[in-house]
Symmetry: C2
Subunit: 163 residues, 2 copies
DNA sequence: GTTCGACGTTCATCTAGATTAATAAATCTT
DNA sequence: AAGATTTATTAATCTAGATGAACGTCGAAC
């Protein structure tokens, strides 16, 4: 485990990096995203203070990650090179309880996001985002929120214009 | 905990049912889905033998579920009325390990699904589905696969027609 | 302060997929 | 097996949102 200070705009992880990393954000704001074959970015998640980033799919399939991770603000982060949960040393029952709680909340978030992507219009997604992450709205460029919602920056701009 | 035998087509859970249930599928195939305001169904997940169904979002927010659950095949299921993980009696370390592994795999699946919904075309989604769930393809009506993928049944039929 | 690149907005066009509807095929019921 | 119900296919039309491009705005770097 190492503590790192990263600057706004700095890339912390490139796809196919060697190690499966888990990143805990102590201060600042990170972004985890993919870039498709046409070069377009799709934000998987934002991680402000207290959040944890990791690529569960890569860990479970024991492969390298397809995700980029970069800093949206100057940040202070902790990087663990081991997998989450089962690869952690079995210390206290309290720790595994914490892990289960963390994972449960993550699943709840992903579940809500999937229902949103399946059944909401662009406008509804944005309104939901405002309610769910009021703090993040003012900390990230609008175009990143757009790709988090699964729409283009232009479409989001239009939606906001109408209000 | 109770064991239940359910028939094909039978609805196991309606939205706003009283209790947060966790359902383990011993045999058969279930479906978990939402119905939007226009009456359209959106499949959140399929659960064949060995899979577990639960609404983490409802459990975490301590509210009733918005999901329907029904049986696609005659099935044998176990229903637990307690929450997953933290609400389970702390028995063995082995059990919590199992829980963490289960949740990790669920997160990996949801993560992959989100990337798919954000960045794949309808055709790419279907092709990916065929690779990931070859067994399920022949067990569920095509229209359900369509709404799992976030497209209309007509669009999926067209995609298959071209091939 | 000026320059430059990133960001947001606006608009004109295009298109993947939705919608609607009609038909055909498969499945269930008795 | 005949009818009824559900599911899949096909086709014509429509639309939310994508695409591409131009322009104004802002903050960072010099």
């Amino acid at each position: 485990m190492k503590i790192l200070r990263v600057k706004k705009g700095e890339i912390i992880q490139l796809p196919n990096a060697l190690k499966h990393n888990i990143i805990f954000v102590k201060k600042g704001l990170l972004r985890m995203y993919v870039v498709d074959d046409k070069g377009k970015e799709h934000v998987y998640m934002f991680a402000p203070e207290g959040w944890t980033l990791s690529d569960f799919s890569a860990i479970k399939e024991n492969r390298t990650s397809n995700f980029f991770i970069d800093a949206i603000e100057n940040s202070l982060i902790e990087i663990f090179s081991k997998g989450l949960g089962e690869e952690l040393p079995k210390t206290t029952m309290e720790l595994t309880d914490q892990t289960i709680d963390l994972m449960g909340r993550r699943i709840a978030t992903l579940q809500d996001r999937i229902i949103m992507l399946l059944s909401y219009t662009a406008k509804e997604r944005y309104q939901q985002f405002l309610l769910t992450y009021p703090d993040i709205v003012n900390r990230v460029p609008q175009k990143m929120i757009a790709t988090y919602l699964g729409v283009t920056p232009q479409a989001l701009s239009k939606i906001r214009g109408l209000k």
